[in-house]
Symmetry: C2
Subunit: 514 residues, 2 copies
Amino acid sequence: MTGADALVSTLADHGVTACFANPGTSEMHLVTALDRETRINSVLCLFEGVATGAADGYGRVKGEPAMTLLHLGAGYLNGGANIHNAKRAKTPMVNVIGDHAVDHRKYDAPLNSDIMGLAGPNSIWIKSADSVGATGKLAAEAWAASFGPEPGPVSLILPADSAWTEGGVKGGAARRPSLRQTPPEKIEAAAAAIGRASQPVILINGTALSEEGLGHAARLKKAGIRIITDTFYAKMRRGAGVFAPDRMQYFAEGAMDDLEGSDVMILAGTHKPAAFFAYPGKPSLLVPEGCTVLDLGGADTDSAKTLAALADAMGAHEAAPSAPLDKPDAPTGALDARAVGKSVARHMPENAIVSDDGVSNSMPVFLSTIKAEPHDWMGLTGGAIGQGLPLALGAAVAAPDRKVIALTGDGAGMYTVQALWSMAREQTDVTTVVFVNHTYRILNIELARTGAGNPGPTAKDMLEIGGPDIDWVSLSESMGVPATAVTTAEDFDAAFEDAMKQTGPRLIAAIVPG
Amino acid sequence: MTGADALVSTLADHGVTACFANPGTSEMHLVTALDRETRINSVLCLFEGVATGAADGYGRVKGEPAMTLLHLGAGYLNGGANIHNAKRAKTPMVNVIGDHAVDHRKYDAPLNSDIMGLAGPNSIWIKSADSVGATGKLAAEAWAASFGPEPGPVSLILPADSAWTEGGVKGGAARRPSLRQTPPEKIEAAAAAIGRASQPVILINGTALSEEGLGHAARLKKAGIRIITDTFYAKMRRGAGVFAPDRMQYFAEGAMDDLEGSDVMILAGTHKPAAFFAYPGKPSLLVPEGCTVLDLGGADTDSAKTLAALADAMGAHEAAPSAPLDKPDAPTGALDARAVGKSVARHMPENAIVSDDGVSNSMPVFLSTIKAEPHDWMGLTGGAIGQGLPLALGAAVAAPDRKVIALTGDGAGMYTVQALWSMAREQTDVTTVVFVNHTYRILNIELARTGAGNPGPTAKDMLEIGGPDIDWVSLSESMGVPATAVTTAEDFDAAFEDAMKQTGPRLIAAIVPG
């Protein structure tokens, strides 16, 4: 077998079932190897940012890595922002980056670049398979490395000659590393600190946001401890019957007001909370003065088990109640994010997956769906907008029997709009809702908050994406995804209900106030 | 003034007239500073790859840097592939990368990343303005650094607090570095080697491709020396009345056949030629065995002056003739790249600028336009497709009185299709021709050449971008660029003629064989 065959079949042996790809000449042997490896579903993406965002979505849903196929350093760069997001989401992902043949590198041909340098900062593991014999072994190593201890994207560079040469050997079965357990003495110290506190709070992320983890969180809540999640997380279980923790507010001053009086903060599956951005004269660290912080382990730790142990240590056996299913009435009148939220809560089927890249418009939908059918919510962990559509694509490939709902702003959606084409090609069951307000609305808010002054005409222009207005129906249909634009709550509700009843990709342009 | 004001006004003092921007929260003070700096035209781009490709186009046309405004490391990554292309084009470009406030970095907020690490490999200069006092001075330094000695993209990181703090000081006038001159003894050695050679060839790039440089090249040609350009270059003057050198063939075996018998190769403004990709059993270095190579200076050298000195040293005073204006007859019948080439040659106005990202279809257009109106041709220097539309946008911003023609494949065009929106917004005079063949045609060719075997269904799927076919007319019009699709040579000719007679953006989808 060739090195490409060894690499691909080793990943398949380890359970990788999808490759999101944008290949070039140096990856032709990988393409034909994928042709022979029927256990891997190859999904063509027209832009690498789609491929990497899709691998992130797949990894969040499956808890195991997908493979991407990227074309040299330039292909890595195109996929880089969504790899940044995946790194922040702690998503296992195996990025296979094709490179020139080893002997060809020294001639510095046009596509040559310092792949190790470019990809290093956002890779938790990076190696180059510079001989055919190394391809299978390194594929197994890469797969295992993607699980951490803190999971994330790994980069496996594959020179073209290592891919095309015969003599590849499959890598042996690699062990999947487990997340760490919080040491018992730390659990005891946290329980004691909580016991002495007047307003204890536990900030959670990671596996604590699974159904199991939230079950333990509900026990701690019942014991009088406030439970709060990070503002953004890779995936959380929520909806009817699931304990709903609070969510850290996005804006620093709101978060600080909200946390006022908290005297003990326990961290489980996360780190000390920091503001998304710095602002003149506003705090960066979101911990009240005098509040004691106890760290029970970050993303390398199984925070669901941490909460279980802590609840056990505190003798907290009963769980706080969770809300029963409660669907709102049909929204009426002018369309806005609240109306969208009601419709989503009304019609979303059980076990749906929401990919949230809706920036300024998604919070009302988030709040509306607390009592909706149980579902998973995936957020923008790394702050690089342009994640929502690719993430939805990958989630749908990972879970073809579940409905996926992508919420995106028009600004965010345009970054990786090519994802629509892959949704059409794969006929993934994704309903995309684009909040069309013809503006980077969040930036208009931020402009005031940063004290940058009143915007003049140039500044205004830089935050408005009208002129020309983007016609999302034409845009979507040009790539094969049926679309409709709506301007009233009634029309949105009907369009969304229809989308939930059918399968396959579709897009609803929700025209909302700017 | 704030640090943002100091940075922006220093760049304006040095002649920067355009900023291609995709701002975020950390750049709000840059946005309002641009509002106050009326000498800089701020162009909003919906994706950073558009901004950086546009700055490349601007720099190639003006010979001076534009500014880009990118949002932290993720914004840099999104713009990274076209920065790679710009680095290969030796285009001066000042990338201003917003960052978190200096004190905020340590909290590792979601958008935090190792910007130095990510941007370093493709920056010829990179610094961070970590105090407000440094902003103006570093802006001047960055501007000067972008000219080299080998020009290219520089990265100036601007933390948000350095931008928002009062106390900025404009940077003093920086000196623009000049390209180097080839030492006289090297010129003499080259002249002597040519004198002894039976088949001398001069490989040229850089300023040798200017009208002046090609004038000197014509003198050397007349003296019996073959003149050949690199396959890809940033910009070349060509058309009626301009000496037309040969062009290095793309495929290694073709290039080697073509160069057979050459016994002396002189390099002027370039380096030893290498194949774009390596192939099993094919050469990487495109120099015939036994051929002596003399290097008269690479991209750091003024190769037009090198050729002048060499021609003087050889007493070559007379120039080889150049072709007079000769426009082909109207094409008829089925539409293909040759027919497109005829129409372009017939209707392209004087002094047009062509941005070529047409991959497998642009060569016939290139060949057809040798005797067309004099024009500039800009190629894909770094091999990262997705350059064509942004490059055309930036060229049109730099030269609003010149017609710009973008040639792109449908595969390449989809990478940075968001450029169409900025063309519409700025009403740039760009006519985009998309070769629509619903396939990565070049990869179908490369699949065979790399010996990767016969494609099975998966491999075929990965190289075809039909299913669904992209509707380029809807896609273009959704972003405000009027468009038409044509399937015959007659219809293309009429559409292209019409586009040349009008101003403003438009797109022609040329449906060609796959």
